[in-house]
């Protein structure tokens, strides 16, 4: 019986993968461990190795096909087996192979565009435009005397893909004033754009803010800094302490550590805290797994390692997916409060503002205290204001009385 090659699950949140390239052809002999094909997920590309030696019998998923996790990708044959040993591909039997939707033509029409002879365009750009049905009359050429080059057409195709308007309306070309610049989207930027739209459109956000006094926690941090530095050569950050506290509060408030899954609410079994980290082209969320079970030292170590990896773009898919709650700290820029967009499939995100010395009243006296705002964005489908308030209250309590952490 032929062996099925199926789409692997590379990360917790991976649902599907795109076949980018077949390294082997049908009929090729393949050794175990050789690269069969390259797959791309939202965040990484991955070389998939052959699980056993044999012959690549039949390729089911072609290049650019999107295949769900577990979906059939190809069949491998053992010596002696014939192509006829491969069963007919069952349809609708949990094996879904769908081709990527072709990009919507700008004109909305189905007929092929032909480019008039008098258009100044390079032969290569002409070919790319014709094959992708791009109306070049709207493109501003970057070559000598406005000649349209490959890059110009590719950019037009990219821009077209990002237009998600449902009815295929004719999009007016971007009017370019002198000095305007079109910046094509990086893959990361595209992912961020898609996920943020998805989050903001599908989950009703609402925001609650609490003000906390960070004096005690900062004092604790100062006490711990030399110790951690000596032990692990890492500077303990305020964020590390916050991860510890938030993880503990999440453990106690499972609805904040949850996800809306259509007809039910899924409470995550683990508390995986994501840290929104800015990189050159955007934002990546490295994940501190089971943060509620880690010591502060472990959190600091993992955080330092992950942030470096992410900034160097060396983090694995596993390290940047699967968070169940996200913290975004933009206090260092002097931001005092704001409302973050939830990182799906989570149902909450905590925005940390800057700590500001403020006059506050303590025991009837005006005293100066370091104060900080925490804003929780809530997916209202999952839980309500009161539940959110209780969670924030608990976080406040732990920040102001860090001794409770050892209870």
């Amino acid at each position: 019986m032929a062996t099925q090659i199926t789409m692997p699950k590379l990360g917790l949140t991976m649902q599907e993968g795109t076949i980018k390239e077949w390294k082997k052809k049908e009929g090729d002999e393949v050794k175990k461990g050789e690269i069969l094909y390259v797959l791309e997920t939202e965040k990484v590309t991955f070389d998939v190795e052959a699980p056993e030696s044999g012959i690549l019998g039949k390729i089911i998923a072609q290049v650019n096909d999107i295949v769900p996790v577990g979906g059939l990708v190809a069949y491998m044959l053992q010596p002696g087996e014939k192509l006829s040993d491969i069963p007919e591909v069952p349809s609708g039997a949990g094996v879904k192979v769908e081709a990527k939707m072709p990009a919507e033509p700008v004109t909305g029409g189905a007929e092929k565009i032909t480019i008039p002879k008098e258009v100044r365009i390079s032969p290569l750009a002409r070919r790319i435009a014709e094959e992708n049905n791009v109306d070049v009359s709207t493109i501003q050429g970057s070559g000598p005397d406005g000649r349209i080059a490959k890059e110009d057409v590719l950019r037009a195709i990219e821009e077209r893909k990002t237009v998600t308007a449902k009815p295929p309306v004719t999009k007016a070309p971007e009017a370019l004033e002198p000095g305007d610049k079109i910046i094509p989207l990086s893959t990361l930027r595209k992912t961020i754009a898609r996920r943020m739209v998805e989050s903001f459109q599908s989950s009703p956000h609402f925001y609650i803010t609490i003000e906390v006094d960070t004096k005690e926690l900062e004092a604790l941090r100062q006490k711990l800094i030399p110790f951690v530095e000596q032990k692990a050569a890492i500077r303990l950050t305020f964020t590390d302490l916050l991860v510890k506290i938030v993880a503990k509060a999440l453990e106690e408030h499972p609805f904040v550590n949850a996800s809306f899954i259509g007809n039910a609410i899924k409470l995550f079994g683990q508390v995986n805290v994501g840290l929104a980290t800015s990189v050159e082209e955007g934002l990546i969320v490295p994940v501190i797994r089971q943060a509620n079970k880690l010591s502060l030292m472990e959190i600091a170590k993992i955080r330092a390692e992950l942030v470096t990896k992410v900034r160097e773009r060396k983090a694995s898919l596993e390290e940047i997916t699967g968070s169940t709650f996200t913290i975004t700290n933009i206090g260092m820029f002097g931001i005092i409060t704001g409302g973050a967009i939830i990182n799906p499939p989570e149902s909450g995100i905590l925005l940390v503002g800057s700590t500001v010395e403020k006059p506050v009243v303590r025991d009837g006296q005006i005293v100066i205290r370091p104060m900080m705002n925490l804003t929780l964005s809530i997916d209202h489908r999952v839980f309500d204001g009161v539940a959110g308030a209780r969670f924030l209250q608990r976080v406040k309590e732990l920040i102001e009385n860090p001794a409770f952490l050892i209870l």
Partner: protein, 463 residues
């Protein structure tokens, strides 16, 4: 005469500097070139491209004369007269240098002899005369110098760089060349064809490490056939000098130690930027590994000061320096220029020659999902047969999806001339099919370009 729009000071009269000065003059600027060497033209004219090509010609003529019988010609005796060959080389250089001199006059460019040191973004001082020259902009085009690597014994007398080799008076009986790049290989052939026993030791797995592996491999075989010894993936560990002999030790990747006793050693491991006496550190111009950092307008980190050519070290090629120099002055003059580093030809003037533009096959396969390759060997070219130069091939690397030419690699006769067609094609973004459908004169070597393009789809005619 129209009024002077700007005063531009150019430090260095190599191909980066003098071309920039001419372009500046064309755009209405008054240019001043400061050169510390006795002659204009920098490395390319005096110690690089031109003199090596002149000596390669001597070597080629000798080789042709020795093999003249193939063509039905008897030549009784052919031998190399090195002083005479050097004279030919010197005369070629002089003619070109004189040409640059007259170009300077024609464009009313002031030439100042001396070493330029930048005092501030508007002033360059000539070290020798203490003369201060004022300008609106400064272009640093101070070039590069041969690198020496830290090997035991490398500073002993008699160990040559390319500068020394071009001035040699006596041909060594045997020579070991450290470095199998462009410079190392061109000298290998000069020495070998003139009668020396040549060994080339290269650290990387292939000679011409930046070039397509298939082409580099074919060149290696061709050079070995001529009697040149080539050892790759080997590191020179020490050089011991004993009277007129040098004992060179090196180790290959598998750990085997070798020794060669030779009459001469040439170090050809590359070139490093030359920023001596410029005052760049004092001004605080950003540097990276000795190179001056520039943006795509060729501006350094100090406003008003630009740099171009080997001193910025993006691609140490004369034609890149020219383009960078032009780009820099055009930006000084208010135009908006960029250098397209994607389409730059690279040439090695061995016989057979190597010329390439764009991506190697390996690079292309990394970047594009579906790459096709077309090859046409010169053995199928009538013109190559009449020249008795059938070694090598034309190799097209293309993107199967849209037919984009990703790279063209040539090993063979006149490769450095043939590559221009590929450069034009890539710059204009024609597809490989356009080259395949162009009529090429018969019999010419350029037919191999057409055939190579046709070969991508298996439609080559003569092979």
């Amino acid at each position: 005469m129209s009024e002077v729009k700007k005063n531009i000071i150019v430090i260095g009269s190599g191909v980066g500097g003098y071309v920039a000065a001419i372009r500046a003059a064309q755009l209405g600027a008054k240019a001043t070139v400061i050169e510390r060497a006795d002659t204009l033209g920098g490395t390319c004219l005096n110690r690089g491209c031109i003199p090596t090509k002149a000596l390669l010609k001597s070597a080629e003529v000798l080789s042709l004369a020795k093999g003249a019988e193939t063509f039905g010609v008897h030549i009784d005796k052919a031998w190399i007269d090195l002083p005479l060959a050097m004279k030919w080389k010197g005369a070629t250089v002089s003619r070109l240098v004189n040409g640059v001199n007259s170009l300077m006059k024609k464009n009313r460019i002031t030439v100042v002899k001396g070493t330029g040191t930048i005092i501030d973004p508007k002033t360059v001082m000539v070290l020798e005369s203490k003369e201060k020259i004022k300008g609106d902009n400064i272009l640093i085009a101070s070039g590069s110098k041969p690198l020496r690597i830290p090997i035991k014994g490398i500073n002993e007398p008699g160990i040559m760089t390319s500068d020394d080799a071009l001035a040699m008076e006596r041909l060594p009986q045997s020579i070991l060349i450290i470095g199998g790049g462009v410079v190392g290989l061109e000298f290998a052939q000069i020495f070998s064809r003139m009668g020396a026993k040549v060994s080339v030791v290269e650290m990387m797995p292939q000679i011409l490490p930046a070039e397509d592996a298939e082409i580099a491999g074919a060149l290696e075989r061709a050079l070995k056939k001529e009697g040149i010894e080539i050892i790759t993936e080997a590191k020179v560990t020490g050089i011991a000098t004993k009277q007129d002999e040098k004992k060179v030790s090196f180790t290959t990747k598998d750990g085997t130690a070798y020794e060669r006793i030779v009459g001469g050693v040439l170090v050809a491991v590359g070139r490093g930027p030359n920023t001596d006496d410029l005052g760049v550190e004092k001004l605080g111009i950003s540097m990276d590994k000795g190179r001056i950092v520039v943006n795509e307008r060729m501006e350094t980190t100090i406003p008003g000061i630009y740099a171009a050519g080997d001193v910025v070290g993006k691609m140490m090629l004369a034609h890149v320096a020219m383009e960078e120099g032009k780009c820099a002055v055009e930006n000084m003059m208010g135009l908006s220029s960029r250098v397209n580093y994607q389409v730059v030809p690279r040439c090695t003037y061995t016989s057979p020659e190597v010329a390439a533009v764009g991506l190697t096959e390996a690079e292309a396969r990394k970047k594009y999902p579906d790459v096709k390759v077309g090859r046409f060997p010169f053995i199928g070219s009538g013109r190559a047969l009449t020249l008795n130069e059938t070694e090598g091939m034309v190799k097209f690397v293309v993107d199967a999806k849209y037919g984009e030419i990703l790279g063209v690699h040539i090993l063979g006769p006149e490769a450095s001339e043939l590559i221009a067609e590929a450069v034009l094609a890539m710059q204009m973004e024609t597809t490989y099919k356009d080259i395949g459908s162009c009529i090429h004169a018969h019999p010419t070597l350029s037919e191999a370009m057409m055939e190579g393009a046709l070969a991508v789809d298996g439609k080559t005619i003569n092979f």
